[in-house]
Symmetry: C2
Subunit: 154 residues, 2 copies
DNA sequence: CAATACTCGGATATTTTATGTCCGGGTCAA
DNA sequence: TTGACCCGGACATAAAATATCCGAGTATTG
């Protein structure tokens, strides 16, 4: 699991309290992380159309839609890639007892068990939205972030 | 997700059809994979007490208990490690708006969402046993594997 | 309208992890 | 006692994640 997922999620939650575009450098300063590497994660979010990037002097990143419409799964898939974590290499078709490809119409049992587990994982991530995360953050902290982002900052 | 998990699972299923210890080299030949690297995975299974290694001339690996008593989760945790895939670095305690450590009694919201998803994933893997996997394998193929393992082999 | 300052975006190094390999210690069989 | 075989941990290599830099573009601003 890529560690950048944590940064991306925190950024999305922070952007909930922003009304103007926020530069990547400011988000990096807020979380005290590498500015250039955080930019890479934000680019991934931009490619997935979760955030919209505006350029120019007063540019930065903003959420493309309501936080309630963005699930945690969306962010994870944007950063870590949409593909499954477990990839079946079709071992059953190899070795001295290889089963012919024509008999492999259904996916192998192991592959299916892993896929089912990943589906459960995805479903769990899908049930939580960025709005849900922001709602559970302490009210004081959210207020501080809002003023820090919209104001001059430290 | 480590690719060796797939190898380990296939080995466990194959060992279901074995009545005598099977050397790692033979399992590698059966699946046509790197013998030395497969040995590493089997060592992990041995450390987790899922398989028992017997040394000497007629040595090899055997399952320590009934296939019904070994879950897919056991194998995955043995190979990939028992720790969670997502590790919270406590970003909320960093940066200019860092919240004091004394206020962080409960885990952060993002960490909890990820942990819940992983729990769902683990529960799914726990419901499937090695015996379940073996049961769903084609009867002919299982018979072939049994004779290949217990007989002289190719 | 031109210059400018600030932003994102992709191409580029470095470090960590996973992958693959090797040889020595130990054990059972003969 | 001898021998051969097997496992176990220590050692290279390859891939990926992490961290970084410089160029392309745009809205501001004089």
């Amino acid at each position: 699991m890529s560690g950048g997922v944590e940064w991306a999620l925190h950024c999305c939650v922070a952007l909930t309290s922003a009304e103007a575009p926020v530069p990547a450098a400011r988000l990096a300063h807020l979380h005290d992380v590498s500015p250039t590497y955080l930019a890479k994660q934000l680019q991934a979010l931009s490619r997935a159309d979760l955030v919209r990037s505006v350029q120019g002097k007063a540019g930065g990143y903003i959420l493309t839609r309501s936080p309630a419409q963005i699930t945690v799964l969306d962010v994870v898939e944007a950063v870590d890639g949409p593909g499954p974590a477990f990839i079946c290499t079709e071992i059953r078709q190899r070795g001295p007892l290889a089963v012919p490809a024509q008999s492999c119409t259904a996916p192998c049992v192991i592959s299916r068990a892993m896929a089912d587990a990943e589906t459960a994982w995805r479903n769990a991530l899908r049930t939580t939205s960025i709005a849900d995360l922001a709602r559970d953050v302490d009210a004081d902290a959210r207020s501080d972030i809002s003023s820090w982002l919209n104001g001059a900052g430290a």
